[in-house]
Subunit: 475 residues, 4 copies
C-alpha cells in the first residue's frame, strides 16, 4: 500500500491543470494542503490499530492486503466495515473524508460492466478488472465525475442548445474515444490521481454518444480543473485540527480528451446508463449513511459542549434537543446497517446495499441537515455570528476585554470558550460551514432523487394488495 | 404446539372476571371474538408455508419446536425473525398482532432474573426457567402488565396518597406473596392465559414493596379485568377482514392477589426494578419496529389506493407523499434491523437488541404516526368523515343514489369504492382508528420515554471529546 | 329576529326528506337534537350582553337590526366582528357553530352577482338582494352546498362518465330551471331552512349547464338528504355540554329539482363559476380563522388541564408544548385579522377579506390540526384510548376500583378526573373527534386548495424583480 | 431632517474607538461603508414619493415632520406604517435596514419611564422627552445596547464570578453615574450616533446596580467597540446592490463610562427592569414582523428565479415550495398587523403592539428561517456551494469554459446565470449569509424567548375554564 508521502509526491508531480481565482496554479498552492492532508489520513491510519481492520481489506483479485478505499465489496461485512470506517475517519478530520467517491464509482462499474457484458456480449468487465488491479496495486485516489452541468433541466441531453452540456463522445477512433463536456461539483478532483467518469442519468436510444464511462488521469491532456477551495480561515494563534482539513471542488472541463479503449467501460449502451448512474448513487448514498452520522456526531458534540460551557447542560430543553440530534444520526446509520444486511450479491460477485434502506437513510440525512444547523445555532447563541476576529483576542488593545467578557462557566478558561466558539463559527457561520449545509442536501443526490430511487424500487402494489384484502376488494 | 381451537377452549373455560359496560361478562361475549380471532392467527399460521419458518423456533430449553411467541431470543437471527414475523402477521389482521407483549416481558425476565441472581445470589432465574418451560410446553398467551396507574406524576410510588396507585406487595407469606394495585392499558389481558407482571419504573431503596415481578393466571382469585373493546362496527353486508380482528384493553385490578413463590421473579430488589422495566421496554419497542412498519404499509397502501380510485395516482404531489410514508416505515424497520445486528448476548444467554437503535426506531414511529393519519386524510378527502351509514347503501330508498354518486374512476365499481372508503373510515374516522393514533404514541412507551432511554445509553461525552479534539481544547 | 323556538318549530314542520341508517326519518329524530341545539345558540345569545354586539348587525338593506349570520359585510369592522363572534360561539358549543357556511355563501353571491351584472348586463344582483331581504327578515339558516361528488378527479365536469357527478341544469323552463346532481359533505343541510347552491370549481365554455347557482328550500321536491350524524355518545350519568352539541353531514341529492327564476343567481355564466367558487371559499376560510382558533383554545385548555391533573402542569416540556399550541391558534387568528384589515370593498358594496392573508391563515390551521391532536394525546396519555365505559364507573362491581385508580393529583376528585378524560376521549379517541381532524384538513378547502389560491393571487414576479435588482440583472 | 451627507460627516468626525482585526480603525475604514450606506438609505428615501409617507411622521412633541425612525408611535396606524416601512426598506438593501433597533428602544423607554414615574414619583419621563426632542431634532441614529454577555447562564447577574458580566453602575456621583460592563451583538454601534442602553432581563431586589438605562454618545470616553463586519466579498466585475449593503456587529465595552443624569432613565428601579427589557423586545419583535417578511420575499424571489433559470419554474414541487415560503412570510406579517390592530395606548401616550401577536409572529419567523435556507438550497442546487471564484469568469484561461457550462435556459445569458448564482452564494453559501441564519433565530430574541413572553401574557386559565365548562367540571 502507498504511503501518504508517496501519494503527496505523486500529486505534486502532476501537470499543472488547476485554475483558481483567475490563475493557473500548481498543486503545491497552499489551498490544496487541507484537502491533501485529509486524503493523507486514509494512508496514514492503515497502521493505526484503531483503524487498521476497518481501513484494509483483502483484494478478491490479488489476495493481497489493500486499502479498503480500493476494494470491491464482497459481503455484508464489507459494507458494514466501509460504513463504520467512513464514520470514524470523518471524526478525525471533522468533515468529509472524500476518498469514498472514487471507490463508490468503481464498485458501481464493477457491477454494471458485468451486467452489460451478460446482456450484450461485450467485455467491459474484463477491462474493468485489469484497471481495478492497477488501481489497487497503486493504491490510487479516484474522483467520481458524474454530475453533468445539465443546462436546461427541462430538456434531455440530446435536446440541449449545446450538446456539450452533458459530456459525450465526439469521436470514436481506432485506439480509443474522444470526449467533450464538463462535470460539476467534483470534490477532490484537483488532488486525485484519477477521474472515474460515469453518466449522470438514464438515457434514450438516440443518446448513444452520451452513454460513456471511463477512467482517466486527472492531469490528462485537455482536462481543466476550475477549482474552489472550501477551507477554514487560517488561524494564527489558535491552532486546531478543525482548520487542518478541508476540501476543494472543481468544475472539470473535458476539452476533446482522448481515452484509450482499455479505460473505456461504456460506449453507447444507453440502456445501462441509468443503471450505472443509480448504482453509483446507491453505493455513494450508502457511504453517506456513514459520513452523515459523523457530521451529526460533531453537531451533537458541539451542541452539548456549548450547553455545558453556557451552564445549561442539564436543562430539560437542551437534553430534549440532544436526543433529537441523536435520533437523526442513528436513524441514518441504522438504515445503512439495514442496507448492508439486506444487500445482494450481483452477477459480478460484487456486493451491493439494498436500494430502499440506503435511500431512506440518505433521505433522512438530507432532510434534517438544516435542522441540525438550527439546533446548534439555537443552543450556541448569537455569538457564533458576532465573534470578533481572532486577532482581536491577541491584540493588547482588546485582549483583556475579550477574555473578560467571553467568560461563561467560571471553570472553563477564556481560551477554551474562545476555541469552542471559533469551532462553532467554523461549523455554522463560515462560508465553508454554509457549504456543508448545501452539500448535506445535494451531495450524493438530493432528497428528491432519493424519493425517485425509492419509488422506483418499492413495491407499492403489494401494499395496495394488502389493503384490498383487508377491505374485501377482489379484482 | 397448541391449536387455535385449544387456545379458544381454554379461554372460554376461564373464570368470568371480565367487566364491561357495567356488567360481568363471560369470555364468550361477542366483543371478545375479534381479539380471540387475532390471537388465533398466531396458532393457525404455524403450518402455513409462508409463515412457518418465522412463526416457529427451537426451544433452547427443550430442543422442541415451539411457537416463536414463547421463545427466548438466542441470536441476531432470532430478533430479525421476530421483527419480520411481527410485520407480516400485522398485515394479516390489519392491526396489532398483540401476542408480542407477553413474550417481550418473558425475554426481559429471562435476562434480568439472571443478573439479579449474579448480583445477589438469589435463584430467580431457575424459577423463571421452570415457568418458561411450562409456558412453552403449553404454548401460552401472556399479557404484559407493566403500566401502573401512577397517580400524581410528580410523586414517587411511596409518596402517593394511596400506596396502591403503584402495584405492590402487601404481605409476604410462607407460600408466596399477596399483591394489591392495578395495571392499566392491558391489551389482551381479557383473553390471555397468563399475566406477566413487572414494575413500571426505577425505584428507590424505600420502595421494596413495589419491586415485584411475577406471573399469574389471568382469572386468578382477586383479579378483575375492567375492559374496553376496540373493534370496528360490525358490518351487515360489506364483510371484510378489517372488521374481523380487534383488540380489548383492560384496567387490571389486583385485589389482594396471592402469588406462590415459584411464580415470583422479583421480590424487593429495588435496584433492578428500573432495569427490568427498561429491558421489557427495549424488547417491546423492538417489536414495534416490526408492527409499526406494518401499520405504515397499511397507511401507504390505503393512500395509494385512494389516490388511484380518485384518478390521481400519478400526480406528483401524491407520489411525493407516498415516498414520505415509505421513509417513515422503512427507517423504523431499518432501525430494528440495526438493533438486531448490534444486539448483545446477556449473562443469561438471552439475546437483546441494541438500546439506542431500538429506541430511535420506536421514537421515529411515535413522532410520525399522526402525520401518517394526516397524509391518508389529505389524499382520501372528506368522504372518510362523511360516508353515510352502511345500511344506506343497501336501503332501496338510497342505494341507487349512493352507488351513483360514490363513483370516481369509472372502471372501479361502486361497491369497491364503498369498500375502500369504509376501510379508510375504519382507519382514521372511527373510535378504533382514533385509538390507534394514541397507541401509536404511547404503546411501548411514548417518545419522551424513548428519549430518556436514548440519553441514558448514548455516549454524549465521546462526541464532546471529538469536538474538543477538533477545537484544540485540552483539559 | 327569530327565536330559537321559532327556528325549531320551522325545522320540525318540514317535509321528511332525511335518510339515515337505511330509513327515512323525521327531523324530530334524536340524532338531530345536538345539531339543532347548536344552531339554537345563534338565536338565543343575541340577547346575551356578552354576545349581543357581535351577534347582531344593522342590515344595509332594511336598516333593521339583524342576526349577523344573515348580514352582508360592509367594512373591516364587520369582518373582525364576524371572526370574533365565530371564535366565541365555538367555545360555547365546543365545536363548529355551523351557521357561518350559509352566510359565507350569501356574501360570495352578493359580490359575484354584481360583477356578473356589470360584465354581462344581467340582473342577478337585484334578484339576489330580494332574496337576501327575505333571508334577513326571516332570520334563516342557510346551508352552503358547494362540493360536487366530482367523480374521476382527472376529468373535467363535462368529461365524466355520468354528467350528474357535478350538479348541472338539465332543463331551462319558462318559470325556472331543473337541476340534477349531488352535493357532498353538506353540514347542517338536514336542519337548515335553505340550501345555497354554488359551483365547486372554475368551468370552461362547454360547461354552461354546470355554471349554476341558486337557493332552494331544504325540503323542496326532489331533494334527498342522506345524513350521517356526528354526535358524542350519549352519557347517562356524566352530563356535560360537550355532549349537548353535535353536527350532521349530508349527501344532498338533487333529483330533477325545480328552481324558480327568482332564486337563480347564475345560469350558464361559466367565466364567473371559478370566481364564485373561490369567493365563497375566501369568506368561508376567513370564518375558519375564527373557528379554528377556538378549536385550538379547546385543545390548549384540555392539554393544560390534563397536565395539571397529572401533576405536571409546570414541567418545562409541557409549557413548551402549550406555547406551541398557542402559536398555532394565534397565527391563524392574526392572519384573519390581517385579512380583515387588508380587505376590499367590492363593486356590490360588500366587503371582502384579503385573499392571501385568509388563505395563509386557513393553510396554517389545516397543516397543524393533526399536530394538535398529537400534542393532546401526548400529554393526556394512553388513558384517552383505554378509558372504560361510563357505565363501569357507576356499576357497583367496578365503581370503587375505577374511582380509586383514576386518581392522580389528590386534590382533584375522581369524578373530575373522569370528566376530564371523558372529554379528552370525546376530542381525540371517538369517531366524532376523529372526524374533526379530517374536517380540520378539508373543511373550507384543504391545504392544497389554499396553496392554489395563494399562488393565483401572490405577486411572485415582484419578488423576482427585487432579487434581479439585488443581483444586478437587467432584462 | 438630516441628509445622508450630514449623517456621514458626523460619523466620520467621531473619536476613533472601533477595534477590528487587532487594530484601532477609523470610521472611514472601507468595511464601514456597506453599513453606513444602508443607514444612508433611511435619509435619502424620505423625499422619494414611494417611501415618503412611510418614512416620515409628525412629532407629537414638536409637531414637526420627522423621520419615522425617531418617532414615538401614537396609534395603530403608526405601527402599521413602521412595519410596512421596514419591509420595503429591507427590500432596497437586501437585508436588515438596522435603524429600527434604536427607535424600538426609545419607544420602550418612552412607555416605561412614564410607568416608573407613576409608580415611584420619579421624573424619568420628562428627562426622556427632553432627550427625545434632541434625538428627533438632530435625526439621530441610535443603537440599542441590551444583551449583556451574561456569563454563566445558570447564575443571576449578582451571582456571577465577575459582576461586570452584566453591565452595572459602579458609582453614583452628583453629576451622574459611572457604569461598567459590556453589551454584545451590537449591530450598527460602530456607525451610530448614540447608544441606547437598557437591561437585558428581569432583576431581583439585590440587583439595583444592574437596573440601569441611559443614552450615551457612541464615542464617549471609556467606550470601546470591538467590531466584526458582515459584508459580502467585494466584487471586481459583477457589481450589484447585494454587495453594496452590509452590517457590522460590535462587542461594546463600557470601561467606567460616565453618564450625566439628564441621560439616565433608570437608576436602581429593579422592579421595572424586566418590563423595560420586554417592552423593547416587543417593539423590536414587532419590527421583525416587517423585516423578516422582507427576507422571505428575497428567499422567495431567489427560489423562483433559480427555478425559472433552471427551466423548472412550473414544476409542481417547485410551486408547492414557493407557496410554503409565502405562507411563512405572510403569517409573520399578518401577525404584525394583528399586533398593531390589537395594540394599546400606554400611560405615556405611546402606542404599543399586542404582546401575543407580536411574539407568535417573531416566533414563526425564527422557527422557519433555516427551512427557508433549505428550500433555496434545494431548488438552487449544489452550484451555490461550488461556484468558482468571480475572477475565473473573467480570466482568459477559463472565461469561455465557465460561460459555456453555466448555461441553463438558453434565453438567459451566461452573465445573468452567473449573477443569479453569485447572489444565491451570497445568501446561503457565504459567511454573511450563514450569519443571517443565526440572527434569524436570535435577533430580537430567540424562539425560546418568544415562548416565555407568550406564556407570561396568554390567558391559559381562561382556556382551561372553557374546557372545564365543556366537561361539566365545577370547582
Amino acid at each position: 500500500m502507498r504511503t501518504s508521502k508517496e501519494y503527496r509526491e505523486k500529486i505534486l508531480s502532476m501537470r499543472p491543470n488547476v485554475y483558481m481565482n483567475g490563475k493557473l496554479v500548481g498543486r503545491d498552492h497552499p489551498d490544496f494542503e487541507p484537502g491533501i492532508r485529509t486524503l493523507a489520513l486514509t494512508y496514514d491510519l492503515v497502521d493505526d490499530p484503531e483503524y487498521a481492520d476497518l481501513l484494509t481489506a483483502t483484494s478478491h483479485l490479488s489476495g493481497e492486503k489493500i486499502n479498503r478505499f480500493t476494494h470491491m465489496h464482497q459481503s455484508t461485512d464489507d459494507l458494514l466495515k466501509k460504513q463504520e470506517m467512513t464514520r470514524k475517519l470523518c471524526l478525525v478530520c471533522g468533515r468529509c473524508i472524500q476518498r469514498c467517491m472514487g471507490i463508490d464509482a468503481m464498485n458501481g462499474l464493477s457491477l454494471v460492466t458485468k451486467d452489460i457484458d451478460n446482456a450484450k456480449g461485450t467485455n467491459y468487465h474484463e477491462r474493468f478488472l485489469k484497471y481495478l488491479r492497477f488501481f489497487q496495486d497503486n493504491d490510487l485516489v479516484g474522483n467520481a465525475a458524474q454530475s453533468d452541468v445539465k443546462g436546461d433541466r427541462n430538456l434531455r441531453p440530446h435536446q440541449q442548445a449545446d450538446p456539450d452540456l452533458y459530456l459525450h463522445i465526439v469521436e470514436r477512433r481506432e485506439d480509443g474515444i474522444v470526449v467533450r463536456g464538463a462535470k460539476a461539483h467534483n470534490s477532490i478532483a484537483a488532488y486525485a490521481d484519477e477521474l472515474i467518469v460515469i453518466p449522470t442519468r438514464a438515457l434514450t436510444e438516440e443518446e448513444g454518444d452520451w452513454a460513456v464511462a471511463f477512467a482517466i488521469q486527472a492531469d490528462a491532456p485537455g482536462i481543466k480543473l476550475i477549482s474552489l477551495p472550501h477551507n477554514h480561515r487560517k488561524r494564527k494563534h489558535l491552532k486546531a485540527p478543525i482548520e487542518d482539513y478541508g476540501t476543494m471542488h472543481a468544475l472539470t472541463v473535458f476539452d476533446n480528451v482522448f481515452v484509450p479503449w482499455d479505460r473505456v467501460f461504456m460506449n453507447g449502451e444507453t440502456e445501462f446508463a441509468g443503471q450505472l448512474a443509480s448504482q453509483f448513487a446507491t453505493y455513494h448514498r450508502h457511504s453517506y449513511t456513514g459520513c452523515k452520522p459523523a457530521l451529526s456526531d460533531i453537531f451533537l458534540g458541539a451542541t452539548a459542549l456549548m450547553a455545558e460551557y453556557n451552564g445549561i447542560g442539564k436543562a430539560s430543553h437542551v437534553r430534549d434537543k440532544l436526543a433529537e440530534l441523536i435520533t437523526v444520526g442513528e436513524l441514518v446509520y441504522g438504515a445503512g446497517i439495514a442496507a448492508s444486511v439486506k444487500g445482494f450479491k450481483s452477477a459480478s460477485g460484487t456486493f451491493a446495499p439494498d436500494v430502499v434502506f440506503t435511500n431512506v437513510g440518505r433521505y433522512h440525512a438530507g432532510t434534517n441537515i438544516y435542522h441540525e444547523f438550527e439546533t446548534l445555532a439555537d443552543i450556541a447563541g448569537g455569538l457564533a455570528a458576532t465573534l470578533p476576529f481572532e486577532e482581536d483576542f491577541y491584540s493588547p488593545d482588546t485582549k483583556d476585554d475579550l477574555e473578560k467578557y467571553i467568560m461563561r462557566k467560571s471553570d472553563v478558561c477564556a481560551e477554551n470558550q474562545h476555541r469552542a466558539y471559533r469551532l462553532v463559527e467554523n461549523l455554522i457561520a463560515s462560508s465553508t460551514g454554509a457549504a456543508t449545509g448545501i452539500s448535506g442536501i445535494h451531495g450524493g443526490g438530493s432528497p428528491v432523487m432519493e424519493k425517485i430511487a425509492i419509488m422506483s424500487k418499492y413495491d407499492i402494489q403489494a401494499r395496495k394488495n394488502v389493503v384490498k384484502y383487508l377491505a374485501g376488494i377482489k379484482d
